[in-house]
């Protein structure tokens, strides 16, 4: 079994992959997609409205900075808008959007010398911007802070996988499609990421 290469394993994963992903309210109906591709403004607005939190959330988790996250999320939608005509109907819209925003995030992280971990408290404070309310934030403060820090300290290629999987809830195959990686690579990166996180979050275990 261990002799199986990752790739072989992933090929066999298909039917068993759990996909507890909340489907976007807007289904990728052919009609909706064709309206989008025809340049229907309302359709595009609906797309943005439906996916804004997921796209922004992914950027925020990846970049750890609300302003940068908004910047990247906005840019992602802008690119999506320009690329709608070229959108292939064979991918899901959400997958497609995730792919765009993931690439933007990774590019930005690779392009800059920045590392989320180095931003320290400042970054964590800014991360709080994305939280729902101050009460909740206070309650969860310590854990959230630890989680954000732990995620931020992961290498980018592991961080993106664990965020897509455990925060955004994408299936292995979807992640593989988003990141254009073999599923086996996704699986091993996810495992490494979880092991890293486990080390750092042990004190919170029941």
């Amino acid at each position: 079994m261990s002799a199986c290469s990752d790739v072989v394993v992933c090929d066999r994963l298909g039917p068993w992959v759990a996909a507890p992903v909340a489907e976007p309210a807007t289904g990728d109906s052919a009609e909706f997609v064709s309206r989008l591709r025809a340049g229907d403004r309302r359709a595009f607005e609906e797309l943005v409205r439906t996916h804004q939190h997921r796209v922004y959330g992914l950027a925020l988790r990846m970049l750890g900075n609300a302003a940068e996250a908004q910047d990247v999320a906005q840019e992602a939608f802008f690119r999506a808008h320009r690329g709608l005509a070229a959108f292939r109907g064979d991918a899901r819209l959400s997958t497609w959007l995730h792919a765009i925003v993931s690439r933007l995030c990774l590019n930005r992280l690779a392009g800059s010398e920045r590392r989320l971990a180095r931003h320290g408290e400042e970054t964590l404070a800014r991360l709080a911007d994305g939280r729902p309310g101050p009460d909740q934030a206070l309650e969860r403060g310590e854990l959230d802070e630890a989680l954000h820090r732990a995620i931020g300290e992961l290498p980018e290629e592991r961080r993106i996988v664990v965020v897509l999987r455990d925060v955004e809830g994408l299936a292995y195959e979807e992640i593989a499609e988003v990141l254009e990686l073999p599923v086996g690579t996704v699986r091993s990166r996810l495992h490494r990421a979880r092991l890293d996180l486990k080390e750092k979050l042990e004190r919170f275990f029941p």
Partner: protein, 419 residues
């Protein structure tokens, strides 16, 4: 199955991503390995913690911003927003507004004192005028609007000499009447510039009339002379040199009989004819050489003789102040030059002028607008080069430009530092 192999699959197990045989084998291992079970539980807890992260919401207005970015050109409201929000658009508009205010202020400033001065001088000059051969309106032109009128009279060429000459002319006009009427005034028009002379024709003529006994002769003498002067006036250098305040020294020199640079043209011509002919005829017993060159001198001949250095200086300074008040008059072209910094721009401008053989004839500050007004005179042939050069120094906007440029173009450059 080793513990290592088993642990590699724990994540997949949690995600239910193992095939049935894999799951079976792993389950068998876990049943007998407490360490691996503990590891699995910890991983499960980790994933659970991640799942407890609060959901993130995009900031308010995110959709609008995206839509604005995506549909900017076709969405009027966004377009308006885009027009008025970003600084890069707002600043130029504000700058334009400031400039507009500046120009309006300039306009008012330029014209109000003008009117005042005109009124003042009309009252002063009205007594002699009724008796004059040329109608009274001839007098104000010499002092007030004279620049324009004489310019239109002679059409293009002499336009550029306007400010300086007008100033001088007005000075002269001011001095002339006393010279004619009360002999007490020792200030003859002698030191006035050749340019003033040229320009002065009507006024001088009118002044001549009341005081001059040999009216007919003078008239007849004046006529050809005026024509001659008109020709002289068209000579580019003559008009320009005299029109420039900075050229006052030169003017002073050329006011002497000694032929200066343009004496051959203007000075010489005028000196030659009026001195021997008009001078004596106009009941001038001792036409001083300085005075002989100009019509006014003819009119005031008796007093012209003892034109001393002192009186000349006095008149010159008066002429200068006259020039100063007329600096902004009657330019052939004008425009705004917006530059990043003033000093370097002025230095560059000076260099440009040197290269083009142009002269900077006046410069003054418009304090409130932090604007420097620089008058330059450039040969028409190089005017285009001047404009191009200005374009290199800063942002040059031509605001006014005669259709037909005179041989010597007087250009007013309003220099402002960009905000």
């Amino acid at each position: 199955m080793t513990c290592h192999d088993a642990r590699e699959q724990l994540s997949a197990l949690l995600d239910d991503a193992l095939s049935a045989p894999e799951r079976e084998a792993l389950g068998a291992h876990l049943a007998g390995c407490a360490e691996c079970r503990r590891e699995l539980e910890q991983l499960r807890a980790t994933v659970a913690l991640l799942g407890r992260l609060p959901p993130v919401h995009a900031p308010a207005g995110f959709v609008d911003r995206v839509m604005a970015q995506a549909y900017r050109p076709s969405w009027p409201r966004r377009l308006v927003d885009a027009l008025f929000r970003p600084l890069r658009v707002k600043l130029p508009i504000e700058a334009a507004a400031v400039l507009l205010v500046g120009v309006s202020a300039l306009y008012v400033y330029q014209h109000t004192p003008e009117v005042r001065q005109l009124a003042r001088e009309e009252t002063r000059e009205s007594p002699p005028s009724p008796a004059m051969a040329p109608p009274p309106p001839a007098a104000p032109p010499a002092s007030g609007v004279g620049g324009e009128e004489s310019r239109f009279r002679d059409l293009a060429p002499e336009a550029k000499r306007a400010p300086g000459e007008q100033g001088a002319a007005r000075e002269k006009a001011r001095q002339a009447p006393p010279a004619v009427a009360p002999p007490a005034t020792p200030v003859p028009p002698a030191p006035t510039t050749r340019g003033a002379t040229v320009q002065e024709a009507p006024a001088a003529k009118s002044e001549t009339m009341p005081g001059a006994r040999p009216e007919p002769q003078l008239e007849s003498k004046l006529e050809p002379k005026l024509k001659k002067e008109a020709q002289v006036e068209r000579r580019p250098d003559a008009g320009v040199a005299t029109g420039t305040p900075s050229a006052t020294d030169k003017v002073a020199q050329s006011a002497e009989p000694s032929p200066s640079r343009d004496a051959a043209g203007a000075g010489a011509a005028t000196t030659a004819s009026p001195a021997p002919t008009a001078g004596p005829l106009a009941s001038a017993p001792a036409p001083a050489p300085e005075a002989s060159g100009r019509v006014g001198g003819v009119a005031a001949v008796p007093h012209a003789a003892p034109a001393t250095e002192g009186t000349r200086d006095e008149a010159l300074s008066k002429a200068r102040s006259g020039v100063a008040t007329r600096l902004m008059r009657a330019v052939d072209a004008s425009g705004h030059l917006v530059v990043p910094a003033r000093e370097p721009a002025e230095a560059a401008l000076d260099a440009l002028l040197r290269r083009l053989g142009a002269t900077r004839v006046a410069r003054r500050l418009e304090g409130a607008q932090n604007m420097v007004l620089i008058d330059v005179v450039v040969p028409a042939a190089r005017y285009q080069e001047l404009v191009e050069g200005l374009g290199r120094i800063g942002r040059w906007t031509t605001e006014h430009e005669l259709k037909t440029l005179p041989p010597q173009v007087r250009v007013e450059v309003a220099l402002t530092v960009e905000p």
